[in-house]
Symmetry: D2
Subunit: 370 residues, 4 copies
Amino acid sequence: MGELVRTEISKIPYLHIFGRTGRCKQPLPLFFNGSGIEVKVTGSELWIEIDTDCDNMEVWVAGEINGALISRQMVMPGKQKICLFRSQEPTEAKTVRFYRELQATSENETTYLTVESLLSDGEFLKTDDYPLKLEFIGDSITSGEGTYGSLADTVWVSMYMSASVNYATMVSKELHADYQLFSQGGWGVYCGWDNDMRHNIPSHYEKVCALTQCKKNIDMGAHEDYDFAYQPDVIVINLGTNDNTAFDQPEFTDPVTGVVHKQHRNVDGTYDKDDIAAVKKAVYDFVTMLRKHHPGSHIVWCYGMLGYALTPVITEAINDYRKNTGDNNVAFINLPNTLEGEYGSHMHPGYKSHKKAAKVLVDYIKQVME
Amino acid sequence: MGELVRTEISKIPYLHIFGRTGRCKQPLPLFFNGSGIEVKVTGSELWIEIDTDCDNMEVWVAGEINGALISRQMVMPGKQKICLFRSQEPTEAKTVRFYRELQATSENETTYLTVESLLSDGEFLKTDDYPLKLEFIGDSITSGEGTYGSLADTVWVSMYMSASVNYATMVSKELHADYQLFSQGGWGVYCGWDNDMRHNIPSHYEKVCALTQCKKNIDMGAHEDYDFAYQPDVIVINLGTNDNTAFDQPEFTDPVTGVVHKQHRNVDGTYDKDDIAAVKKAVYDFVTMLRKHHPGSHIVWCYGMLGYALTPVITEAINDYRKNTGDNNVAFINLPNTLEGEYGSHMHPGYKSHKKAAKVLVDYIKQVME
Amino acid sequence: MGELVRTEISKIPYLHIFGRTGRCKQPLPLFFNGSGIEVKVTGSELWIEIDTDCDNMEVWVAGEINGALISRQMVMPGKQKICLFRSQEPTEAKTVRFYRELQATSENETTYLTVESLLSDGEFLKTDDYPLKLEFIGDSITSGEGTYGSLADTVWVSMYMSASVNYATMVSKELHADYQLFSQGGWGVYCGWDNDMRHNIPSHYEKVCALTQCKKNIDMGAHEDYDFAYQPDVIVINLGTNDNTAFDQPEFTDPVTGVVHKQHRNVDGTYDKDDIAAVKKAVYDFVTMLRKHHPGSHIVWCYGMLGYALTPVITEAINDYRKNTGDNNVAFINLPNTLEGEYGSHMHPGYKSHKKAAKVLVDYIKQVME
Amino acid sequence: MGELVRTEISKIPYLHIFGRTGRCKQPLPLFFNGSGIEVKVTGSELWIEIDTDCDNMEVWVAGEINGALISRQMVMPGKQKICLFRSQEPTEAKTVRFYRELQATSENETTYLTVESLLSDGEFLKTDDYPLKLEFIGDSITSGEGTYGSLADTVWVSMYMSASVNYATMVSKELHADYQLFSQGGWGVYCGWDNDMRHNIPSHYEKVCALTQCKKNIDMGAHEDYDFAYQPDVIVINLGTNDNTAFDQPEFTDPVTGVVHKQHRNVDGTYDKDDIAAVKKAVYDFVTMLRKHHPGSHIVWCYGMLGYALTPVITEAINDYRKNTGDNNVAFINLPNTLEGEYGSHMHPGYKSHKKAAKVLVDYIKQVME
């Protein structure tokens, strides 16, 4: 082993960053699940220096060597070094990815994760190109909730979420694509699963990571406008599941404004006309917002992994958008529903369901990119 | 073995008939793929007496014992007896299904298949109940085209079509359901793959089997109004694939009327506004027609096994129908696209693709029927 | 369609024959399951003229086009023509295989199947080469018993046996190999499942097909010495399952000689020393016989698809043979046991079990042939 | 969260220990891969305090909640606390397993792993019973080498070994069994892959963990006689792969004694008679040794996951042992070879191969235990 040299993360040659970041590059905040770094490096040993904090939602991280998942672990508060590999053949180049497993944790004032530096006795080489760029926007499904843990586990804790077992990561790996995730469990395109009107993705989408309330993250630019420098070839939106749930949940009172909200069903079980129209409008408006920031992206709304109930309203919005704007680079597809035996923990899609969805999407994206 | 007794098919006790029939029950015409008979019978031996004719499109038939496919064969013209089982334990009841593999063969003046009688040395018992009733309406996919034959086979001959390897049959078996098929390769909801305006399913749907031009079939009532006595719980429509193909095919001149038709694309590749509106109207009108004849059925339009191109127009039609009528018992879902390695002969979905589609539909129908 | 020309089977150019035959080539008897013919032929239509008879064990046949199974059917007594394809593109070459599904049916005085001629409007071309040659020797597993029919079917009738769904055929297709089958349900290497000493494969192996007692077959040379002109690269023996069963069955009295036989277990359940030694000797002697006739073949004894009980005695015999003779071109491997969910009818290995065994053998044979 | 209470590991109520241990229970050494602890505990939070050291072969550990793998990580030298869960529902019982991923690391003077204590705010409940007891003895396959990492990874480092993805663990979980592993990569039943005569498992088997040379481990009793208090129902031996490799490797000179050893092949490629006889004797003697310590265990020698070459000699030894001793509670089965697409890193069996082997063994053990 040669001597380990510490290099600030912002000074690493050829560093590939996954996921949204803001103006702060030193330290490098990892705001979302799937956010991470990749290097190609020789040497016998590589360490990463991170800093993290949490209250109840601790951060989990994953490590890969040459595309294979090697480690997954919880990280406890404090600045710390994690060894990413050691005792390797020094002259051989290793592609190493390190990323956050935990979603952005909305309204959390404590949780953050930053990369400070890498320590290496090797040389940093040019990383692989990812000519294809993807973005995935979603809820708990895209946050990988349920992809770890047993069927019996029903507590909502961070260990059951991931990017490592996640259709978004599977798709990106299979297509050798760069990708970004923007997802929050329980949120919808119009409102949260519990009728909380604040919990809609579009209202937070234009900031770097407005989901977090952690001061440290905010100081690093999380609440600033996102620059949309990353222009994905394909944007996958996987939202609607919580908007549907809201119709079956009690009303929600905004703790700040006192405003009460509830999505209603008619007595025959159908959706209230105005309430469902609001969902439709939210879909329409979100596509409009996405198009504004990504003029060249193919936008596909994916829906169905936890039931097909909102297909009519989502397709209606997408179809209206296409007709009104003449923008046909927007589409809708169903992802296959999660069947018995395909669930993970917390009654969320498990490995098999994510695998199935990934196959459909890989095929879809291949056809779009032809 | 006891003595074989011949019983006319119309006099078989507890006979279960699959598929549409008209007024003629003796002989019993099998018009569609999947059309057939089922009996539960003791005895050591069972024969079926059939009559058939063909020109280039010969009929294929399949036989099952206790739910397992045992035989599949071509039948050549003429009245003939086929042995369905023999040397069996006489006292044991066997459930035997015999059905047509070949679709209704539109515009064919020769092809027919009738069941004349059964010859048995046993006793006919009450057959299984099929409390769930399904109907599948489609094109070559639902006609099972490509489900037999090798990937290299590209000739359009009847041996490559089936009901035995077919998502519709898989779904019905898995759900222990009665079912009917109404499908024709190359046809659409609005026009055929080659812009032939006559080749739309709705225009033929209200007759028993207007697809056939065989005089013998017509004499048996094929062209008469269908009575819709069979009221399915769920109607699966799998149409649109050929409507999309028509946009990329040359114009078609009706040989009788001389009228020329062509679905157009704009120069940018998008669909011509009027042409696509006509497809949408056809979807809308067909759902309206289906609802008229089946007031209680859940109607689901399935689409995607050979690409998702028409999803926007189909969903638009379905959504409009739901809104205008308030009839929410109509839905749309994508079936997963056929991936590499899942094709059968003639670049049509093969066994693996049908299996995959069946899983999605089984799950969907289970949820609908809850 | 051109005019059909009838050509006697013995005069078909480039005819490929699968399976053992004797001196009679016109008509061509198909003695074993998997025995059949293959041609590569142009033309729009092809018929095969066969002759067959049966009592309780009717013959089943299967047809393939370009390697894909197209038809499987029972054939009833009499000379008859079966159409193998029709309405095909005349100029295109089709590879067509036609073969017997039913094993040789020991002690049966009636059952036979011959190929008389082919009727074609095309030209017979050079068939594919099969540089690799295989032979499979076995019992009901190799006779494909249980590969058709439902789990509930437990009657011993010919429809449940096959070559079409059979590990031997799967292996041969995967390796693009010529192959021969020699198998008989219920038979062993030393004695039958019921202690019938006549039912051992080695005693019949040196005749063309001594299993049959049908006069017509005998007249065609079935009981004559086999010439062993076919020299397989690999011989797979899958015997022992019935030898093990015999230990748990009552004694058997030879109806001709009156001699009583029974394989015994000791009171502690272990095999009687002399009885098991006789099995071992039979294994040893059969390998010796096989080597005599096939000096260059790799011989592998496969065992385990219905339990591993006789592994010790078979390996002992194989090991002794290797040591005593210095002939190391003889091996033993287990095939994986049939697990729950992998059974077919009659509690025999089903499709999944045959598939699994085929994978192991394909890999094994590839390594041997390296 | 309640207050965390630290309890020495030896004082944890109902502690279930996996794997061999010696006299030292405080701290509790985890010598082998798969060695670990299991508790059933309420509370919101659980930590484990461990101590570890390493030179080039660092220890990896894995954590499970309710039977599902949650974490896998490298641990760096020093006493440290690892959080096993947090933020859980306090009243709910969680079954938590923590175990070593890395094999015993022979001849290593530094590497050890001990469990010092658990820190919990809950109550320790009675853990699940494991009425079935298994033991697995093997080489790199049983050490899980290659079960992590990409196909391209060929460096021999500890991160690519595991108990978490390992047929032994899969079998034990599927059968809800307690289990112990005793394995060392590169070792054989007679000699190591490189002809190192010291690297045979039997010579180390009777000590607790003679594989380790770490003084701390030795102080905790690693080199003392093992008490064989754990009496497995079934012992699975998966050895022979390296004994075969030795025949193709150069001679090895013992660095201490200077003695040179080499397993030879004859000029025709067959094994030298004396050298192979030595392997056979080693098999025989090891079974004898195992029987001495485990009078009631079923002993099954499994072989084949990396080729079948030594099947003859292993079966010969097993058969001789059975005959000479009359002990029929010893058996041999092949495990299926690793096929293309089933390899993991370092050309060792990957996940799919381990899964396949596990299925065969689960079935085998079920039958043995009937």
